[in-house]
């Protein structure tokens, strides 16, 4: 019979011996497999531990190594070339520049309006001197603000040498003053070229910077209606230049620098118009600004 028993239920001695041998072999195989698995797991654990130690060592090396020395660019009074160029760019609102160059336009906001110390709608700028994205954004913002009032005590500098878009030439709003019949402007350079905090934010400013801006530079709250978070155009646009060289291009609509900054200035102007009731009309109804307004409205939908 198949189970080794005869018709009287008896097992042959030969069958019994072979079955015992089979069971013994199976047990040996199972034990060998357990040993092999244990050995393999130990090898695997050792290999994984080695990988983790290597990666951990790299992270430790990075954390413990001293930071390379950073060249901190001085902040100096803006030259006449720069201030004259900004003023010369103010009236350039009659043509609609290529708005596709504005890769980072403002985004619409809902909520309470933002007003300044004089009760007027406020443009709140919070940036940092090291920040390359702030560097490119200050140029068009300065032009836009100059269309609604007088921006004084401007300074110039460069963004950090060891960051993305190194040494981007720029303005500095840290000591700027502003007078306008239509809006208030508060310009805060919160950190210097070495990322050291050099300014104090009010509780409201700190709250807006974190909740609306996510704690990132540049942060521009335009009257509580629009927010600019990040660069308005790529840093490569101003690569390798000086503040005076950038200024020389501000009124040149045919140059990439001039057309890009003018386009971004018109976008900021349109945003300011929307927050101050479209005043003055001479600025807010100009062709270039109207085109930017249309683009911003489309963005808000």
């Amino acid at each position: 019979m198949a189970d080794g028993r005869d018709d009287k239920g008896r097992t042959s001695p030969k069958y019994g011996a072979k079955k015992a041998a089979t069971e013994r072999i199976a047990a040996q195989r199972a034990a060998q497999q357990r040993t092999d698995r244990k050995h393999n797991l130990l090898m695997a654990g050792g290999g994984v531990l080695a990988v983790v130690l290597v990666i951990g060592g790299i992270v430790f090396a990075g954390l413990s190594s001293k930071k390379s020395s950073t060249t901190i660019h001085p902040v100096v009074a803006a030259s006449d070339t720069v201030t004259n160029a900004i003023n010369a760019a103010v009236p350039l609102t009659s043509t609609a520049p290529d708005l596709s160059t504005v890769t980072g336009p403002p985004k619409p906001l809902t909520g309470a309006a933002l007003t300044g110390t004089s009760g007027k709608p406020e443009v709140l700028y919070i940036g940092a001197e090291f920040c390359p994205y702030c560097a490119v954004t200050r140029w068009p913002l300065a032009i836009a603000l100059s269309r609604f009032g007088t921006l004084s005590n401007l300074q110039t500098t460069y963004s950090a040498a060891n960051d993305t878009g190194p040494n981007t030439p720029t303005l500095d709003f840290g000591h700027a003053t502003y007078k306008s019949d239509y809006i208030d402007f508060t310009g805060i350079e919160y950190e210097d070229g070495a990322k050291k905090v050099i300014a104090t934010l009010t509780p409201q400013q700190a709250s807006l910077f974190q909740s609306v801006g996510g704690g990132f530079f540049p942060f521009i709250d335009l009257g509580g209606k629009w927010v600019q978070s990040g660069a308005s155009y790529p840093t490569a646009t101003l690569a390798g230049l000086t503040p005076d060289a950038v200024a020389a291009q501000l009124t040149n609509s045919s140059s990439k620098i001039g057309s890009t900054i003018q386009a971004s200035a018109n976008v900021f102007t349109a945003a300011i118009c929307s927050m101050d009731g479209d005043k003055p009309a001479s600025v807010c109804t100009a062709t270039g600004v109207a085109a930017a307004t249309t683009a911003l409205v489309a963005l808000a939908k």
Partner: protein, 171 residues
């Protein structure tokens, strides 16, 4: 005598777990690839701290031989799929087993370079990139341990063969 097929003995969870991890890696790498090419992603500076994804993904170290690292990562995870299919895990062919381990190890080597670039050169951390690194590491660990537990054996049991032999001996 019953003909048998050699099986890898890999745990049944090996293939599905590894495929899920691979899918996660593909998702993260896809996002980073899109972010690399999309100029409309906001360019922002982090207020102090080491976390700055833009600085990492736009750094000179974000390309290897002119190819974006994000794209290389995506290709790596897509290439991982065949190694973790159920048929591959069931196979006892040692070339598949060791090929899978070597492929995973190559990913770990690249992760080591990227971690070095972030920690030592750029000194900034991109959280999305760190997610890819962790996924690669976890996938490698799972692959290693699943391979360690896989003891090759024949699909048909030897006990059946032995019973047949015993019956023949009695007859």
């Amino acid at each position: 005598m019953v003909s048998s097929t050699r099986q890898s003995g890999a745990p049944v969870w090996a293939s599905p777990v590894c495929l899920v991890l691979t899918a996660i890696g593909i998702g993260l790498a896809t996002y980073l690839t899109i972010a690399h090419y999309d100029t409309h992603i906001p360019l922002v500076c982090a207020a102090k701290g080491a976390i700055d994804c833009e600085a990492v993904t736009t750094s000179p170290q974000s390309k290897v031989f002119g190819i974006p690292v994000a794209l290389l990562g995506l290709a790596y995870f897509v290439g991982m799929i065949p190694w973790h299919l159920p048929v591959a895990w069931r196979s006892a062919d040692p070339r598949i087993k060791f090929g899978r381990l070597l492929y995973g190890l190559s990913g770990i080597g690249f992760v080591c370079y990227l971690v070095y670039a972030e920690a030592v050169i750029i000194k900034k951390v991109c959280l999305w990139c760190t997610g890819v690194h962790i996924t690669t590491l976890v996938l490698f660990v799972v692959t290693v341990f699943a391979s360690a537990l896989a003891i090759p054996h024949d699909a048909a049991t030897d006990e059946d063969d032995d019973d047949d032999d015993l019956e023949d001996a009695d007859n």
